[in-house]
């Protein structure tokens, strides 16, 4: 019985969670949220909210009106920014005419491109992994020690044999047969 109650409680909780996540907001919810974001100076967030709202409620007049107003304002701001940028660009910096500047700019750009091309050709950046490719056939230190020990032993044997060979042969008295 207790298990059944627990299961029912869990099922109820899961249903509530599912309802919460699938709950569709009303157009007014989207409108209010977008409007608040706009007033709090986050126009892009407002537009994102409106985008979500319009996907859910494409024909809602309030959402569309607010979106229209926000876009209009944004376009005006962009135009103002562009005009400012244009004015800054038009300011003569070194007394040269605009044409000269643009011609000079083009030449400079061309030169920069050429220099960049040369530079990339000269680039010595190694290919990935070049400096440390896995080293096949590498001898482990202990293996090397074993081999050296063995060589050492062989050497000792050879040397002892050599010493044996170098030992003066026993003198054999030779009886002259005159």
């Amino acid at each position: 019985m207790r298990t059944l109650t627990l299961l029912l409680v869990m099922f109820g909780a899961m249903t509530m969670v599912a309802q919460d996540t699938t709950a569709v907001k009303s157009p007014m919810d989207y409108f209010n949220l977008a409007a608040k974001q706009y007033v709090k100076e986050d126009k892009m967030s407002a537009l994102r909210t409106l985008d979500q709202g319009l996907q859910q409620h494409p024909q809602d007049a309030r959402l569309r009106r607010l979106a229209t107003e926000l876009l209009k304002e944004q376009q005006q701001q962009q135009q103002q920014q562009q005009q400012q940028q244009q004015q800054e660009q038009d300011k003569p910096e070194d007394g040269r005419s605009k044409e000269e500047q643009s011609k000079g700019g083009q030449e400079q750009q061309k030169q920069e491109q050429q220099a960049e091309q040369q530079k990339s050709e000269q680039s010595k950046e190694r290919k990935p992994g070049d400096p440390g490719q896995p080293r096949p056939g590498e001898i482990a230190p202990q293996d090397a020690k074993r081999i050296l020990d063995a060589l050492d032993r062989q050497e000792q044997q050879v040397q002892s044999r050599m010493r044996q060979r170098q030992q003066p042969a026993p003198k054999v008295p030779v009886d002259k047969d005159w």
Partner: protein, 264 residues
């Protein structure tokens, strides 16, 4: 007592020997797979070995070749940290510099693409479509900004790695050359634009005390989505404290919202 010490020494030696053997075996198997072009198997062999700068380095090489740069960075960093000689540390750092350089190049080219895409968007269609396009353009521009920051950061990391190579091996000419290239790229980077938008925290600075209270009240009402009430409070407030005129923009916004919210 002497016997215990002897046993401990022997055991330690045996352990060390076992560790070395495992690493050597991993290197042998991994290298064989690497030579055969079976990079995943090579990687499995290297990463399956006990911690060692050689297997970490080789794993880094494979990860770099397969485009897994984040993991390659981790492996090279580990290799440079545990390497027992300056030469091996320098090798790992050199490749680290290379990975960061590659990452910077990829981030830069992707940022350019995102920016070009964003600027090619023209607002066509009905208002719903236009809003969607504006949001898309903003997302692309945000991506461009973030990737641009990533490029800057990756170039600095690359520069740092090459500098460290040169500290360890001052005669490493390739590292010197690559460092110069990276520094040129850093110098050629556009300066990040200052954030002209966003809320000005000093906006309410010149408001009178009364006006500040009225603003706070209007803000509370906006939080509750009571836009008309907030506008009324502001309009009445202007008569009480003329400094509130400085926030005409706030009132204009509220005015626009209340007009848009009226049923058609």
């Amino acid at each position: 007592m002497n016997r215990i010490a002897y046993i401990a020494v022997v055991m330690l030696a045996a352990c060390g020997d076992a560790h070395e053997r495992s690493v050597d075996e991993a290197l042998r198997i991994g290298n064989a797979f690497y030579q055969a072009g079976e990079l995943q198997k090579a990687l499995d062999a290297y990463t399956g070995s006990p911690e060692d700068h050689r297997t970490s380095f080789n794993a880094g090489v494979v990860l770099q070749e397969t485009g897994q740069w984040t993991e390659a960075v981790e492996r090279y960093t580990l290799a440079s940290n545990v390497a027992d000689s300056a030469t091996d540390r320098a090798k790992a750092l050199y490749n680290l510099g290379h990975v960061w350089s590659d990452r910077a190049m990829l981030a830069d080219s992707t940022a350019r693409q995102a920016g070009e895409q964003a600027r090619s968007i023209t607002l066509d269609g009905d208002i719903n479509e236009q809003v969607r396009l504006v949001v898309l353009r903003d997302s692309l521009l945000t991506l461009e900004r973030e990737l641009s920051q990533l490029t800057d950061s990756a170039l600095l990391q690359s520069e740092d790695a090459y500098r460290n190579v040169l500290r360890l091996t001052p005669t490493e000419e390739d590292a010197r050359h690559n460092l110069a290239l990276v520094m040129e790229r850093i110098a050629a980077r556009p300066k990040p634009a200052t954030n002209a938008g966003g809320k000005d925290p000093n906006k309410d600075r010149d408001l009178g005390e009364k006006a500040k209270l009225i603003m706070a009240r209007a803000d509370e009402l906006v939080e509750k989505y009571l836009f008309q009430e907030a506008l009324d409070v502001m309009r009445q407030g202007v008569q009480q404290d003329p400094t509130l005129q400085q926030r005409k923009d706030y009132m204009d916004k509220l005015d626009m919202i209340t007009k848009a919210s009226r049923p058609s």
